[in-house]
């Protein structure tokens, strides 16, 4: 890991592991946004992690995104970080404030649904269409009608009526991810972090909880499940890291698709194991495991669920044909 990544990792791990207590998240779920934490994050310059220097990278930003997932941090940092980078890549001015990301298939869409943190955002970058159809707009949220909604982790995922104020077009960057791809990348890394959190929780719990006179982690049935969980954690982390590195290059769409498929597709098995190992206590609101698992359940569907990314990947492979399958797979490295 390079020096910048290591420093970032240390900073965010310290900040989030101390500040983001179960109580803070419960308060957030009761309607109390963590203002103090958000102020700290801004002071530390974390909003600018992807734009601070000419050589700021997604590779380093991975550490921040991972920690956001690992510690279930309920703030609009991932989106703002990514949005600022997208604007910079496009050669646009970067406005102050919170910027979020949204995607719709169709340019004529009147109401954007599930827009992260829209109620508190200043701007939204809206992508409509993909590939050659891609259009990007920047819209001040103040001009739109926002209805408050949440995902199943009670994170703000609002509906934004843009019929009165469609925003202004933004150039397309000629390298790096699109808004949809950036969103998928961000969620993949957050899922990787959340899964890692589940592994830590489940292993620790298995070592502490005693039944039949010994820690349940001594039972082979539990060990075998945790080994599977570890395997998925390793896979999703590796795929997400590859995607982040690819986002620093010209055309990251395939690596991001792979990461989002792996991340989203692993959520069912990993959350099941984490909960199974925790028994009934993990099913209570009081216990903090669900802050991780509910986020994973929500995030797997955001910025494209498994099938959204798997369909074009599979179609592309079929079109490229058997002769190109292996050379395409190895083309990246």
């Amino acid at each position: 890991m390079d020096e910048i990544s290591r420093l970032l990792q240390e900073t965010v791990t310290k900040l989030f592991s101390e500040a983001v207590t179960p109580e803070l998240i419960r308060n957030f779920e009761d309607g109390q946004f963590p203002e103090e934490l958000w102020a700290q994050v801004q002071e530390l310059g974390l909003l600018d992690v992807l734009v601070a220097d000419d050589d700021s990278t997604w590779t380093s930003a991975y550490e921040v995104l991972f920690a956001l997932g690992r510690w279930s941090v309920p703030i609009p940092l991932a989106e703002t970080m990514a949005a600022r980078r997208l604007l910079r890549d496009a050669g646009e001015e970067i406005p102050e404030g919170i910027i979020t990301l949204a995607y719709a298939d169709d340019y004529a869409t009147k109401v954007l649904t599930g827009v992260p943190w829209a109620r508190m955002a200043d701007y939204v970058i809206v992508q409509t269409g993909t590939g050659d159809e891609t259009q990007i707009r920047l819209m001040p949220i103040g001009e739109a009608n926002v209805s408050n909604k949440t995902n199943i982790a009670l994170e703000y995922r609002d509906d934004v009526d843009i019929s009165v104020a469609p925003g202004r077009p933004v150039r397309k960057a000629n390298r790096g991810p699109t808004a949809l791809e950036a969103g998928a990348l961000v969620r993949s890394v957050q899922i990787a972090g959340a899964l890692d959190g589940m592994l830590h929780e489940a292993v620790t719990y298995a070592q502490d909880r005693t039944q039949f006179g010994k820690p349940i982690g001594k039972f082979q049935a539990i060990q075998q499940q945790l080994a599977v969980l570890a395997g998925r954690v390793a896979a999703v982390g590796r795929a997400a890291q590859t995607a982040a590195a690819a986002a620093d290059g010209d055309d990251p769409v395939i690596d991001i698709a792979i990461a989002k498929i792996e991340a989203s597709d692993s959520v069912s098995e990993t959350t099941s194991i984490a909960h199974q190992v925790h028994g009934a206590i993990g099913f209570t609101y009081e216990h903090h495991l669900h802050f991780l698992t509910r986020r994973a359940w929500a995030w797997r569907n955001e910025f494209g669920a498994t099938h959204h990314w798997a369909l074009p990947l599979g179609r592309n492979a079929a079109q490229r044909g058997a002769e190109n399958l292996w050379s395409d797979l190895t083309g990246g490295v």
């Binding site: 896979a235 982390g237 590859t242 597709d265 079929a318």
Partner: protein, 381 residues
């Protein structure tokens, strides 16, 4: 970043690209009329002449010191050779074991004489190895090894039976685990490794048909077979630690998720350029998983290159890899309706791999044993 294991985001150095091209053109030539169903055997395919050609090219013993016939190339370069061979379904079975584990084992634990005598010939693709770990009553529980090596004048007398030794009917040597002490103090004591010349009198090799009708593995019976003192590998009584190290080599390579690569290729051919939505989605998921396993496997190669011990990471890749390659034939089977019995290439490849797939989570350590190793890495044991 997790604390339990490390999968560094290595990518293969750009310098491996030329090597890859070289391998591909070699394979295009060598395998131009090699049938799909043979390719599906991947590292079970056995062809000594092919192995010799690889030796001639410097693609065996790649990372070993030149002084022992090696080529002092990087773990990444070796990785590229392995994955290209597997992707093409080349018949690499003859040299696979010697190159992957017996050679490195001798390099690490062997005597100078053993290294000088054996390794250059392995690297040239002239001699071939098999593994003698399992026995009738000792599978996962290797410490239960019964085959006896009894000290005698100038060497050891071997009595007992090794089972499931892949390729023993064609191999020149076996690296075998024998009991050199009957009632050791510790359960893992009293075991030693030997380099056994399979032409030694008193050794009988009997091939065992597998469920597909093919003969890959064997029963190897030892009746007063004499092995000279010079052929003890490593320390007397140090067999357990050595065999553990050997198994780590055995688990670290891309063959642990690529056994079905020829099937994936044929599947894409069979589906054609216009997949239906379900086929495309499932194909996309398979490709995502394959690409991710490959990245993980390259991380393991990176750890080997850095001289680290990737035992935990390798077990994770093998476990996840076995899940992938074991499910692939069945997923493929469900993707296309009405595959004829044995008519097409695709059907033949599919039918073979459906039958072979149960072995993927047995050979090289069962799924349950690997997961035990992973659990230990998590601090649970």
């Amino acid at each position: 970043m997790t604390t339990y294991f490390s999968f560094a985001p290595n990518s293969l150095p750009g310098s491996t690209q030329a090597l890859r091209e070289e391998i591909r053109s070699f394979l295009d030539q060598e395998l131009s009329d090699y049938p799909a169903v043979k390719r599906a055997e991947t590292w079970m395919g056995y062809d000594k002449a092919f192995s010799k050609k690889m030796g001639d090219r410097g693609w065996l013993g790649m990372t070993w010191p030149k002084q022992y016939g090696g080529h002092e190339r990087s773990a990444f370069e070796r990785y590229v050779v392995l994955e290209e061979m597997l992707a093409a379904g080349a018949p690499v079975g003859a040299h696979w074991i010697g190159d992957r584990q017996s050679g490195p084992l001798l390099l690490r634990f062997g005597t100078e004489k053993q290294r000088e005598e054996i390794l250059p010939r392995v690297a040239r693709g002239e001699i071939f190895f098999c593994i003698g770990m399992s026995e009738p009553d000792s599978g996962s529980d290797l410490a239960a090894t019964k085959t006896r090596a009894q000290k005698t004048d100038g060497g050891w007398l071997i009595n007992g039976t090794k089972l499931w030794s892949t390729g023993a009917q064609h191999a020149d040597y076996m690296i075998a685990l024998f009991r050199t002490e009957s009632n050791p103090e510790s359960r893992h004591g009293g075991l030693s490794q030997f380099l056994v010349d399979l032409k030694t009198p008193g050794i009988t090799v009997r091939p065992i048909k597998d469920l597909s009708g093919a003969e890959h593995f064997n029963e190897v019976v030892f009746e007063d077979a004499f092995v000279g003192d010079d052929w003890l590998v490593g320390e007397e009584g140090g067999g357990w630690a050595q065999v553990t190290a050997e198994l780590a080599y055995e688990r670290s390579g891309p063959e642990r998720y690529m056994s079905c690569m020829p099937l994936l290729t044929e599947l894409v051919r069979e589906i054609g350029p216009d997949p239906d939505e379900r086929q495309a989605i499932i194909l996309g998921k398979l490709i995502a998983r394959l690409a991710t396993l490959r990245q993980m496997s390259i991380s393991v190669a990176g750890m080997l290159e850095d001289g680290k011990d990737p035992a935990l990471e390798a077990s994770i890749v093998k476990d996840q890899g076995a899940l992938f390659e074991q499910s692939l034939p069945h997923i493929a089977n469900d993707l296309i309706d009405g595959v004829s019995a044995t008519g097409t290439d695709y059907a033949q490849v599919l039918n073979l791999l459906v039958q072979i797939s149960p072995s993927f989570s047995l050979r090289g350590g069962t799924r349950e044993i690997l997961r035990g190793i992973i659990a230990r890495g998590l601090g649970l044991r």
